[in-house]
Symmetry: C2
Subunit: 766 residues, 2 copies
């Protein structure tokens, strides 16, 4: 049957509200009796807290409470994730760790109190481990003596649970390690005609959402119920964690999802437990909103990584061996995406001999967090750089070399699994047809120096994402006016709600305007996974599709009675149930629903539901082409053109999918050229404002030529795959390869700053 | 299987919150930008609005808007129910009709503005029809020229839809009429050995909830969405009506259910449309809360009635003929419960020849509304009085005469249907065993004058309710900590939520503390009927039971995998799934639910749902015994003892059921002895405060001896029937009969004020 709504670029259902400024974000909310909280953050990477004199802060007019760890009857000795941290006890283990909290009648009073307290606290600085390589040494002191090292990151972002653990005992600060191997790596490298061996470094990068973290918590002491308003990406995970930290049953915590002003993996769990703790203590609703400076200091950026990669190929371009050593700096608590990095680095290409070992190491830096395609961004930068260098070494076309070697259905994954049908090769073939790639011969390479000295080049890279999994339910509730409520527990960080509404409208047979998406709070919402890992459309969308089909069946059964027709003869078109071939026999969906509502209704309400756990992933890949101009004197790189071909399975809403891809490319340009959080050797952040931390601006992002490739998923709704993470993945590699194409110089550290370009060109000249 | 939770008097789940004053009622809520509204009410029963000079009101500092009907782009020429009225257009048709609205920054400013406007409005008084008998005359001018007269009352409260309409053309102010007949009434009366013929009058009675009507409405102009916070008894009816009055799609109106501080039928729809209209116009959240005086003037009390009844019986006490003419004063808009009155009056006893005709007539008084067992209270007072007089005339025991004649399963109902299995006779037999009835011979009758002249008497009466019907859905959402959320759209006005939680706990097999009831708003809630007509446990409770059984099946299926056992061998006891007979093989429900949650869960979330439309009623009856002392000099009546036996089908929570019965008796005492809204001939309310309108106090209500009779319903959960309405029904009759027993005087008008007692005794002496 031809689709009429799925596949259409309908406007986002929240567009009007957002564009007209009507959206109420968490920080905008006012509650009766609301008090304002500020956190006092540690200025030290590692210090003993000697004394917290609270008198000066308490004396500030309007200050309601000054609280330290000693005042909290909750919290763990050693939390295993940043989101579970309340206030430091005795010692701080990362710069920006919350040490105390001020609660006051106004935000100004809270800020004043926090400043006075910050000035009063006495620390004894202790030696800090800032360099992950030093921290990974067996002789290094332990960052978290109490921690055994457990990570939810792998699960959260879809890496295989079966990642084999290395048997040898790791050094104490190694929080987790992973090993993927097949074949005989030494022989594979030995037998390769050409081997490229490089070490890559990626920076600590902040998610840089425009809305800072903000939470309001209110505790009902009588009922012992905590309500938390938060722009979290996931209701149920946040509920579980907040309840667990505060010692409450999950059903006593209500998470109210608020609009997310940018998440990208960084809005999962941060302020909810501490705000909840403060509300429980002061007995009033507490508002806690981070300043931008606090965002940089105490939130959870993407981790730094050091990736040693060796790729060997035969003379004719068959990849023979891939060896890698991955080191992720987790910061002070575990959870870095080392497993995902290994899977994606070793999975994009067929290679008979594989040996990838990864470790995450704890340091006295802020605990890392998820950021769009965690681990995969780092992996692609490294592997795509060496693949390009192999092509160069062999004198082959870099795109054709990839076409030859990329994984396809049935090829092995690093963890021993097999790839399902993926669209990696199809994306490469599609991007080969892009104008940008077609024009490459005319502009590529160091030979094309412009009159002003600018060097032009074009690069290619691929990359993708395994796709997340999490069980989900959904409800469809039609109303007597014919409108349809789609009730879900998922949070919209990417336009997913619009696509969910499209899926429901298409499945039932009603126009888009008749469908409304209802995101309930955690008390009543159908279960949903976190909006992360590119899984909402794949999992919740599938549940919505099935619930809508269930509702459709119920509508048809009622309409059959009403129309005195067989269900099999009925169809629903544009909100009307029709007897096929008899245009006069029809009834509006509204009138069918009226049969079930009001006093004395004789028919059960239409209530479509579905609940399912999808257990097979649908990985999604894309191929990117970047064109750059490089100024060899200043080292400045300008991205002048960009083309993406991405396998999306099925574009439920092409405009929104393109928007995801545009956004991914923009963020990828930030990774590639601009963004880094720099800590000095004492652990002090030297790039803690948007003046020091460079985000891409609109002029840094060229128009992006997008081709949507549709290799349908066997499982997603209408064949859809997750589309959110893949487009950020290949960008750094494509740009680095374009720079190499332009200049002949390979730069192996992100971001590729002008200084690094100048240095690389100088080194090349030597 | 033995029940462990259903049948237990567990405390109300909202008890702590309510008793500690934590419950936030609508009027307590604060929203950012909130403005306050006041209505200006008509002082005239019927008047032309000549001029509304708004300048003085507008000049009050803080006044934001002064609005009249001309400013509202909504509203109907002739609304067909009070709840649909916005502001009067051109003419007012009842005293207390809203004529204008003031919106201001503070409630004080709004009140000030309203007072100034009220003083400024110029009316031209028009002749008012206050007396329903005069209004029912064919020559009377029309109260509502534009109205055809339609009523939802019958459906809402469960009267049979099949009530036959009288064919003859009714006078213009008769909004609806009903006729029930069988046999040959003239012959039946002729053949009776004794006929008692009386005319009864009941007063206008206010529901007198402690919380006045209160609504907050907020309109999002961008999204065109209206949110309404209201203590309504029914989300979906209120949504439908509010949307319809304001010209919005139902899905654009969100009704947020707030705690109901007393409803009793009076909190269905009143302020929601006008508050919504004001919010749409001023563009800010509007709070509208009635004062107590406004409650009396502009809300919807129970209607006045005049009931002419003739009952004939054979010499040996077989009822042979029942003739009745029912006249209900609907006030200015239709909807009076004349059909229900006829069904209950003619249904409680077997009688071969029946002729009941009922009419509701429009007058220039406030439109009536529902009040606990509407129509049935009036019917029972009349029929139980004449039954008692028949017993007296025949020299028979009034209880035994009732036992002989009361309807049982299979007996005809006035509308031609047959009674299902009812517990009316069983209730009579049970109350016969009460101490109060047993002691009757020692104290009953005018012969027992005490030393101080007080006369003692004991009376009996029966009465009940047909039971309401409305389709309902429910969801069961277990959490990974083993707690269970029961998600419903019903509003708790009587403790029903506690019983719903018990039904879920019992059905699944978890302790009560693990169950939480979640009442969602109209956006996401499963469908539910209005909390009225004693139907929530019967309909929503049934859906909860089925949804819980669905969830239980899903839990057992997962546990079977976990325990490697057959589902049939499993049981859930106290939150643990056990293999029967193998105590060591068990798994907590929490651990089963954990199998479905978190990253990479392999099993679909447990999501129990049910959706159904019950189409058969389970009527419920009770028998009441009242003992009174009458002071013949002052006419003062004191209820000294009270016994109730009520068929409840199954008491889900006996303490709550007893509480319903206590409350019903207390309200019944108000009907019987104290409460009346008195209008003078111009239509001015002369009892508009709690100083003039006498509510029963705790000292007016004796201890109530309750026996719960359990004749199980074939359809309700665990056999339960609706218990809320029946206990108010027989009280007036029992007390009137006790007074007759004490004094020999029969009083046929409610309330039985001291003056009426004195007058009746004087008449008897003459």
């Amino acid at each position: 049957m031809a689709l009429t709504i799925v596949g259409q670029s309908v406007p986002r259902i929240d567009a009007r509200e957002k564009l007209t400024g009507r959206t109420v974000f968490t920080a905008d909310q006012d509650l009766r009796g609301l008090v304002h909280a500020r956190l006092v953050l540690s200025p030290h990477a590692h210090a003993k807290i000697r004394k917290i004199p609270i008198d000066a802060a308490k004396a500030v007019p309007g200050v309601v409470a000054v609280l330290t760890a000693a005042d909290l009857p909750f919290g763990e000795e050693t939390p295993n994730a940043r989101g579970r941290c309340l206030l430091a006890r005795g010692e701080t283990r990362f710069p920006g760790e919350p040490v105390a909290a001020i609660v006051a009648e106004s935000d100004a009073a809270a800020a004043d109190g926090a400043a006075r307290l910050a000035a009063a606290i006495e620390y004894e600085a202790l030696p800090a481990l800032i360099d992950p390589v030093a921290a990974a040494d067996r002789s290094a002191p332990l960052v978290q003596p109490g921690l055994q090292g457990a990570s939810w990151e792998a699960g959260a972002h879809g890496a295989a649970a079966a990642a084999q653990e290395e048997e040898e005992k790791a050094p104490g600060n190694v929080a987790s390690q992973v090993k993927f191997a097949r074949g005989d790596i030494e022989r594979g490298l030995r037998d390769s005609a050409v081997v490229v061996r490089r070490t890559f470094r990626t920076a600590v990068v902040h998610q840089a959402y425009i809305e800072p973290h903000a939470t309001i918590a209110d505790f009902d002491r009588g009922a012992r119920r905590l309500t938390v308003w938060t722009p979290t990406q996931g209701l149920f995970y946040t509920r579980e964690q907040t309840a667990s930290v505060l010692g409450l049953p999950e059903s006593s915590v209500r998470i109210v999802p608020m609009p997310v002003g940018g998440g990208f993996g960084g809005k999962i769990l941060l302020l909810e437990p501490i705000a909840g703790a403060l509300a429980m203590i002061v007995g009033r609703p507490v508002r806690l909103v981070l300043t931008r400076a606090e965002e940089f200091q105490t939130a959870t950026p993407a981790p730094q990584s050091i990736l040693e990669v060796a790729l060997g190929a035969s003379r004719d371009g068959e990849f023979r061996a891939l060896q890698a050593r991955l080191l992720f700096d987790a910061g002070a608590l575990p959870g870095a995406p080392v497993t995902i990095c290994g899977l994606l680095m070793g999975g994009a290409y067929r290679v008979a001999n594989l040996d990838i070992r990864g470790r995450e190491v704890l340091t006295h830096k802020p605990p890392q967090g998820a950021y769009r395609a965690p681990g995969s961004v780092q992996a692609a930068f490294a592997i795509e750089s060496v693949v390009d260098e192999i092509a160069e070494a062999l004198g082959q076309d870099p795109l054709e070399l990839r076409v030859r070697n990329v994984s396809q259905e049935g090829d092995p994954m690093p963890d021993g699994g097999k790839w399902p049908r993926i669209g990696l090769r199809e994306s490469l073939l599609a991007v080969r047809e892009s104008r940008l790639w077609g024009e490459r011969p005319r502009r590529g390479g160091a030979k094309t120096r412009a009159a002003d000295g600018t060097l032009a080049g074009t690069g290619i890279a691929v990359g993708g994402w395994l796709g997340g999994l999490e069980a989900a339910s959904a409800c469809i509730r039609p109303n007597p006016d014919g409108t349809i409520h789609v009730v879900v527990g998922s949070v919209d960080i990417s336009g997913s709600s619009t696509s969910l509404a499209q899926i429901a409208a298409e499945t039932i047979g009603v126009p888009m305007q008749q469908v409304r998406l209802v995101s309930e709070d955690s008390d009543g919402a159908p279960q949903s996974g976190m909006s992360g890992g590119s899984k909402i459309i794949y999992t919740v969308g599938s549940a919505v599709q099935k619930a809508a089909a269930d509702a459709r069946r119920q509508i048809l059964a009622l309409a059959a009675k009403r129309l005195e027709a067989a269900e099999a003869d009925l169809d629903i078109v544009d909100g009307t149930v029709r007897v096929r071939g008899v245009p006069s026999r029809a009834v509006a969906v509204a009138d069918v629903i009226k049969m079930t509502s009001g006093f004395g209704a004789q028919h059960a309400p239409v209530f479509g539901v579905a609940s399912e756990a999808i257990t097979t992933r649908s990985p999604a890949f894309g191929a990117h082409v970047a064109a750059v101009d490089v100024d060899p004197d200043s080292g400045r790189v300008r991205v002048t053109g960009y083309a993406v071909a991405q396998d999306v399975g099925r574009a439920i809403n092409p405009a929104l999918v393109r928007g995801q891809i545009h956004g991914g490319v923009a963020q990828g340009i930030g990774w590639a050229l601009l963004e880094q959080m720099v800590y000095d050797e004492s652990g002090t952040l030297t790039t803690g404002t948007f003046a020091d931390y460079a985000l891409p601006r609109s002029t840094d992002v060229p128009p992006v030529d997008v081709q949507l490739v549709e290799v349908p998923s066997a499982r997603g709704p209408f064949g859809a795959k997750g589309v959110g993470e893949p487009p950020v993945v290949p960008v750094s590699g494509a740009i680095a390869n374009a720079i190499a194409d332009a200049t002949g110089a390979r730069i192996d550290s992100l971001p590729i700053t002008p200084q690094r370009v100048v240095d690389a060109l100088a080194a090349r000249r030597r």
